[in-house]
Symmetry: C3
């Protein structure tokens, strides 16, 4: 049983969790990034690619993706997350939905590319006092997946289905 | 009488409020967006357009604006808010000022347009434990309004006029 | 001795500190910006320019930089900070690392320039209940400085060197 957290406690904690996570990702510490998932975690980051599973699988998928996409190019990527919505469930899961932009800079080129725009659906759990990602599903705005549910789709769309009462008291 | 909130409580709560609000807006749930205003709320979103008033008026204005601007184009917009400043007033009003960017993606086009850059002036109130917007005024950086005060301008500029003592303790 | 803060208290407080700071900066209130540093604060904002020191020196450097860069152009800049990581040290220093983007709008031009992408390394201290910057070092992604340590580099890289255990409990 995980006790519910106040939004005051949870919100900055999740913001810091994401900051730690993307600083690792953008430094190409793929093992550290994968270590932010549960052992059996699932990660769907690009439409058309099968989901990666387990920490080992997630780290391998990220290495492969970067190699295919950038080869030896010394690009610096920066993942920005924003407009974070958190929803604590009675079973202790934390459903998190937020916007993401990827900023990519090439050495000597002052103006970065900012693309794509995404919305990310996470399921977080707490394990021995640590936050971990059970699943992450990234939707790309330019490649709408429509009504297609992700494989093992329990983690998808859930935050969109909740009754929204914007501005309600903390829960 | 609304009791004052600590910044620890208020800041994440307002961030979540805005996240819920823009996720609704960007899903074109204009009624949900309008429902984040007080019944007599006022919304000035674009220079040269008269302010919309009341929830009904705000929802109608958003529908009209989207129809004129995008017609049947299947664009996906994402509103990003950042650099949020909160100022609690003795009367319980919360004055909020922040930056905004609008990210617009068209299907099949990977790189979104990011424009315009804005600064937003909100007045929030708490009603039966719920945050609601009493007024929102959006300034567009590319169309400076100069010294022109908005109609019923009590809500405008106020956060800029306060004595800034950056880094002061919570209040 | 500064007591350690909970992340719940510290994180929103630093976010508000940065918001206050950049609203001042983007309004060209360089004295207010400089006043967010300690009296002997150090500010390195652009590769190749020597660090500015003391509040007077920082305000002067900003005035000079803006004059050189923009002259009388009526540009509106907006500094966006994101993906904030905070690390409290036993001696009371708060090491803060975050991403930054500069959004620059020219009157009449709807689409702003968004550049450069940066990562910022701050050292914050608390003085008489107020947060102040002891040092700020801005790395520009398009001009990698490599292994070159900044002058008086105690403040640099430190947050990257800490043992990252993402999602660990508050400390």
């Amino acid at each position: 049983m995980t006790p519910p957290h106040s939004l005051s406690e949870l919100y900055p904690r999740v913001q810091q969790f994401y900051a730690d996570q993307v600083h690792a990702l953008d430094s190409r510490q793929f093992d550290v990034y994968a270590g932010t998932f549960t052992e059996d975690g699932e990660f769907r980051h690009t439409p058309g690619r099968p989901p990666a599973r387990t920490r080992r699988g997630i780290a391998d998928e990220l290495s492969a993706f970067h190699r295919e996409r950038f080869g030896d190019e010394p690009v610096q990527r920066r993942h920005w997350f924003g407009m974070l919505r958190l929803d604590q469930r009675p079973d202790g899961e934390i459903h998190s939905t937020f916007y993401a932009l990827v900023v990519t800079t090439r050495p000597g080129v002052r103006v970065p590319e900012i693309a794509p725009s995404c919305v990310v659906h996470d399921v977080l759990v707490e394990n021995a006092g640590r936050l971990l990602l059970r699943s992450r599903w990234v939707e790309h705005d330019w490649q709408p997946e429509g009504a297609a549910a992700p494989a093992g789709g329990a983690s998808a769309h859930t935050t969109d289905e909740r009754e929204v009462e914007v501005g309600a008291p903390l829960r």
